[in-house]
């Protein structure tokens, strides 16, 4: 790995939400890097902090209610310490974001063309005519057939898939280096999902941007990601290239996640679920292995006191040592591999 390829480096990032004057870290000591032309997937259950991590990067969280500590280095500048004005020069131009719900992510009272044009006004020196042209070009690029008409339409006149294409057009309008896609396909139906993913890959091939893909859909990850980071309770518990992770998952949580994907080949079986629930933000175990309470059959000695990421093969990092002792619980009372018939 050449350091020149590195676009973004996150170091010891903590993002805390204020609840009654105390800050609780939803993202706890996360370090990650993103390279050029790479799709880095961040996966995890709802509430594991993956979306918070994504929104922390371009500072879209409410400053009055959150606290960001650590480093988010982009072009040798720490985004975490930037003022709102400084961040505005990065947002949309260098780093842009694609959101989960295309139905609510567009201003209902503004024409599509105007919404795409907005970031061009502040980040480029294009004239009004050039901007209009660029808007049509962008709509074309994201696979919209009649750009002239769509540019004059309002969001409610478009389908969900079309709106997500518009949001992607907004995101790529200034040719950003980094695109953060926060569950871009979750709200779409399956055929549209595939089209949107294809579009993302095509755009990346054209621009060479780095993409951070936040998702809980492992199918999507397998399809397009280069590298995967698995998050649990605010921490990264495993990072690996996609083939490595899918063929050789190590952390008990990662293995449980894969195990809980329904298999078409197994008929009449109950779903494999992970015991317990994700602890809420206010009572996260801040010490020891955070997953230990959900794999209670693993002896305490198997866990590290202060679990750190260990590189077990090149590029494959796993937190804690408990993975060496992990096996799926197999007794009848357990929730794993229990057959209905």
């Amino acid at each position: 790995m050449k350091t020149t390829d590195e676009l973004l480096r996150i170091k010891n990032l903590h993002t805390g939400f204020r609840i009654k004057d105390t800050y609780f870290d939803a993202v706890d000591n996360v370090s990650l890097s993103l390279r050029k032309n790479e799709i880095l997937a961040i996966v995890g259950e709802s509430g594991c902090g993956k979306s918070t991590l994504a929104t922390s990067i371009i500072g879209l969280l409410d400053r009055n209610k959150t606290r960001i500590q650590g480093e988010i280095l982009y072009k040798n500048k720490n985004l975490a310490e930037m003022t709102e004005e400084e961040l505005n020069d990065v947002r949309g131009l260098d780093i842009s974001m694609i959101f989960q719900d295309p139905l609510s992510a567009l201003n209902p009272l503004m024409r599509i063309g105007d919404q795409i044009e907005e970031s061009l006004i502040y980040h480029t020196k294009l004239t009004k005519e050039q901007r209009k042209e660029r808007v049509l070009e962008l709509l074309n690029q994201v696979g919209i057939n009649n750009p002239e008409r769509v540019a004059r339409q309002f969001p409610h006149q478009l389908s969900g898939g079309m709106r997500q294409r518009v949001i992607i057009a907004i995101a790529i309008s200034c040719k950003p280096q980094i695109i953060i896609a926060d569950e871009p396909t979750t709200a779409l139906d399956v055929t549209i999902q595939a089209q949107i993913l294809d579009l993302l890959i095509d755009l990346q091939n054209e621009t060479g941007a780095g993409i951070i893909l936040i998702t809980h859909d492992l199918g999507v990850v397998a399809e397009i990601a280069d590298r995967v980071a698995v998050m649990y309770a605010g921490e990264i518990i495993e990072v690996a290239p996609v083939e490595e992770l899918f063929s050789n998952p190590k952390h008990p949580y990662t293995r449980s996640l894969f195990n809980s994907i329904p298999q078409m080949s197994q008929e009449n079986t109950r779903l494999n679920v992970i015991e317990g629930i994700v602890p809420s933000l206010t009572n996260l175990p801040r010490e020891g292995c955070r997953f230990s309470s959900r794999i209670s059959w693993i002896p305490e000695e198997a866990h590290e006191d202060n679990p750190t990421l260990h590189e077990i093969s090149p590029g494959h990092f796993v937190r804690c040592t408990c993975w060496k002792h992990f096996h799926f619980k197999s007794d009848i009372g357990g929730s794993h591999h229990v057959y209905a018939d």
Binding site: I58, L60, D62, N64, E84, E85, L87, N88, D89, V90, R91, G92, L93, S96, M97, F99, D101, S104, A105, L106, N107, P108, L109, M110, Q115, E118, S119, I121, Y122, H123, F154, H156, I167, I170
Partner: protein, 320 residues
């Protein structure tokens, strides 16, 4: 769109019919009639009876109703018993005064409330926001007559800045600049009373709309584009938050034509509110029924106006 407007106007006809029936029946139930007040020990009861017969008050109610509606349709609102003048002329005269008062009130109300609401929402939880909210609660808690009397006492009697009664000074030629100026001068106190008391709703509504809008997805999208925060506010948050207030304008406009009984009475302003209360006190049926019909019609018109405004400002709503 015009088709819909026409259809809505046509639907108003049966609504107005039901309203007219209700108004007429309720008026019949009212104790006494225009002549009961005229009875003194010296009056000959036969004379009163003669007047009642002549006015058609002894006919069965449906005959009276048909006669009344027939006149109404022809634009003939009847004759006021107290003033012995055509009700149409009477209302027309007062309506102009009320229109001026309402217009100034609305302008004052929105020019106070919209900036305050925007500031409170923009900087919510700040000291500024808290003082605006405090102001709006105080203005909400003060009864109209208390503030009206306070203004009257303070600015009218003590400081003598503004006139305390009427709509225009005597001795000025109508139509001259001095006359118009004097009319506005007379309007300021009642209009500010109305405006100050009416701001609460608009401020609170706008404030909460803006606070809600801040966390909406499309505002986050706008922020992610890297456009300056003031642009996010002006182009995405304020515009969208003002929408419901714009839509409510239809009701506000027509509602104001009804006038305010309390304010017009306190400031001795000859408007619709005053006409209405006097008509009730003197059992002037023809005026009461005409006014209630008018208010009902204005309410219907207000909802139509609101729908039309809404369809103009919100692209999601297109009347097909």
């Amino acid at each position: 769109m015009w088709k819909t407007v026409v259809r809505r106007v046509v639907i108003m006809i049966p609504q107005l019919f039901v309203l007219s029936l209700l108004v007429f029946i309720l008026a019949q139930f009212m104790p006494g009639d225009p002549y009961s007040g005229a009875i003194t020990p010296e009056t000959d009861p036969a004379r009163i009876e003669e007047l009642r017969e002549k006015a058609g008050l002894n006919d069965p109610w449906y005959e009276q109703y048909v006669r009344w509606v027939g006149n109404l349709v022809q634009g003939e609102l009847g004759k006021s018993y107290t003033f012995q003048r055509s009700v149409g002329d009477l209302i027309g005269e007062k309506a102009t005064n009320t229109l001026w008062l309402s217009l100034l009130s609305v302008i004052l109300l929105y020019s106070i409330a919209i900036p305050l609401g925007i500031l409170a929402g923009r900087y919510n939880n700040s000291k500024l926001d808290k003082s605006i909210v405090l102001y709006s609660f105080i203005s909400y808690a003060i009864p109209t007559f208390v503030l009206g009397l306070l203004f009257l006492y303070l600015f009218g009697y003590t400081l003598r800045w503004f006139p305390t009664v009427g709509s225009v000074s005597v001795g000025l030629d109508p139509g001259t600049l001095a006359w118009y100026w004097d009319k506005i001068y007379h309007l300021i106190l009642p209009a500010s009373t109305f405006a100050v008391l009416g701001t609460t709703g608009v401020i609170q509504y706008l404030r909460s709309e803006i606070i809600d809008a801040k966390s909406l997805d499309y505002v986050r999208t706008a922020r992610s584009k890297g456009i300056p925060m003031r642009k996010v506010y002006s182009k995405h948050i304020f515009r969208n938050s003002l929408l419901p207030i714009a839509a409510f304008l239809g009701f506000t406009i027509t509602g104001l034509l009804g006038g305010s009984i309390i304010i017009e009475t306190i400031f001795g302003y000859p408007g619709m509110g005053q006409l209405f209360i006097n008509a009730i006190l003197s059992r002037d049926y023809s005026v009461i029924t005409a006014l209630v019909m008018l208010y009902g019609f204005l309410a219907l018109l207000g909802s139509l106006l609101s729908d039309i405004i809404m369809s103009i400002v919100d692209p999601r709503i297109r009347i097909e």
